[in-house]
């Protein structure tokens, strides 16, 4: 337990990039030899990004948690196949995006989570204090963005996610998705176009 806490704090403190890379490599190598502790250090480092990726992709906290667990299980089962040809981040993003997309495709066509909206509405009625109001506004904005993102195709959503939130370059997104960079770009353009159309619509309203 003490060890895990120290790891969390070190990651929280954001170590210098190259040291982090070196450590990650060491953890990957150890995991490939069957070291579960090393693997769970990788989980601790990546779970935040992976969970938020699938949360934005799926727009459903429960499903996102399930998918994240699936993703880490897949990473665990396949880690011996990771040969270091691409970076570990590319590899794990590929697994995460593929799992989220296949989860989206397994869904019935219309999935709409009203949880956030009802939550916002009930809060609006009763809350008055400044901090609560800020929270409500943030929740409102979040649900608006989630709803907008849900209008994109799963492929467009994946590109927007990797570009905006994971701050990957077009080239590495192409690498992650196994697509030519031109396709990635056109999906990005189309996705932003749709989001812009929605925003304009909201402003005109």
């Amino acid at each position: 337990m003490v060890r895990l806490e120290t790891i969390t704090t070190t990651i929280g403190n954001r170590m210098s990039a190259d040291r982090e890379m070196g450590q990650e490599e060491a953890w990957v190598l150890a995991s490939q030899k069957g070291d579960q502790l090393a693997f769970n250090r990788l989980v601790l480092k990546w779970e935040h990004r992976v969970y938020n990726l699938s949360l934005r992709m799926l727009n459903d906290p429960e499903e996102a948690a399930e998918t994240t667990q699936e993703i880490f299980l897949a990473v665990y089962k396949n880690i011996k196949r990771f040969k270091g040809k691409s970076t570990f981040s590319t590899w794990i993003y590929r697994i995460a995006v593929n799992h989220s997309i296949s989860r989206l495709r397994r869904r019935p066509p219309v999935h709409y989570s009203i949880e956030d909206e009802t939550f916002v509405r009930t809060h609006k009625k009763f809350s008055v204090s400044g901090r609560q109001e800020r929270d409500v506004l943030r929740l409102e904005q979040r649900s608006r963005i989630r709803e907008s993102l849900s209008k994109l195709s799963s492929e467009q959503r994946a590109v927007i996610e990797l570009k905006v939130y994971q701050e990957e370059t077009f080239d590495s997104i192409a690498d992650i998705l196994g697509l030519p960079a031109s396709t990635v770009k056109s999906r990005f353009y189309a996705g932003l176009g749709i989001l812009k159309g929605r925003l304009r619509h909201l402003l005109e309203d």
Binding site: Q36, F39, N40, V43, L44, E47, H48, V50, Y51, N52, L55, R56, P61, A65, T68, Q69, F72, L73, Y76, R138, Q141, R142, R144, I145, R146, I160, K163, V164, Y165, T169, F170, K185, F188, Y189, L192, G193, L195, K196, L199, R200, L203
Partner: protein, 260 residues
């Protein structure tokens, strides 16, 4: 830069937001925006979209996603973890197994016969030799039995068979007869019962008819009697009245002369 449409500039705007716009194109875009009001509006809109997207901050994980795999033990590790009686039992059982296997292997023999490879465990009993001798004896005996004897057996058997056959025929016939008689008997008995029933029913209905008739007869007689007595009473009443009138008349006739 000539030949670029506003749509092309939109892509440049998006590239710039993505942080992947080449430095040389940066200037071109800025220049166009200073001239084109529509593209400036679009750029602002896109900027707002981007801001909104970026405002979506990450959420905390609901729990950790650690992966655990159940530990796997080697055979020797499992054995060392066993308690003493289990160790003893396991050892004993495996020793017995080994003993049986060794014995089986020691007594095993491999025989190659035409069309089959035979693996036998244990020593073979001289069963086949015994069987062969018995077979030979039997064939010898059969050969020794002459044809005449055989014919005699056959005729004897035929006789026996035919007598048995006739006996059984007779038996069958008697059985059929008995059955028919019984059937007849049953039929006549059944008819008798039916007749009696019919008779009884007839008697019953006759009886009820007769009694009904009698009752009616009685009723009629009673009615007639009632009427007759009625008539008789009326006659008597009339006779009384005439008598009374007559006496009154007589009295009146008798009185008048006295008063006068």
């Amino acid at each position: 830069m000539m030949g670029k449409s506003c749509d092309d500039y939109q892509e440049l705007m998006k590239d710039r937001l993505a942080g992947e716009l080449e430095a040389s194109l940066e200037e071109v875009l800025t220049e166009h925006l200073s001239e084109c009001a529509q593209c400036t509006r679009e750029a602002e809109l896109l900027q707002n979209v981007w801001k909104e997207l970026e405002a979506y901050d990450d959420e905390a994980v609901p729990g950790h996603f650690f992966v655990y795999e159940p530990e796997r033990f080697s055979l020797s590790e499992v054995f060392t973890r066993l308690s003493f009686p289990w160790k003893f039992a396991t050892l004993g059982a495996s020793a017995a197994l080994v003993l049986v296997a060794v014995l089986a292997l020691l007594t095993a023999s491999l025989k190659i016969e035409p069309g089959a490879v035979v693996l036998t465990f244990g020593t073979a009993k001289p069963e086949s030799a015994q069987f062969d001798s018995m077979k030979a004896e039997l064939t010898d005996h059969l050969r020794a039995v002459s044809r005449e004897e055989k014919a005699e057996w056959m005729s004897e058997f035929k006789n026996e068979f035919s007598s048995a056959l006739s006996e059984s025929e007779q038996k069958q016939q008697t059985l059929v007869k008995v059955a028919l008689e019984e059937l007849d008997g049953r039929n006549s008995r059944a008819n008798q019962v039916k007749d009696a029933q019919l008779q009884a029913r007839l008697n019953a209905s006759l009886k009820s008819f007769g009694s009904a008739m009698l009752a009616r007869h009685d009723r009629d007689i009673a009615t007639v009697n009632r009427q007759l007595t009625g008539f008789a009473n009326y006659d008597r009443f009339q006779a009384n009245q005439t008598d009374a009138i007559m006496t009154t008349l007589v009295e009146m006739a008798g009185q008048d002369p006295i008063r006068r």
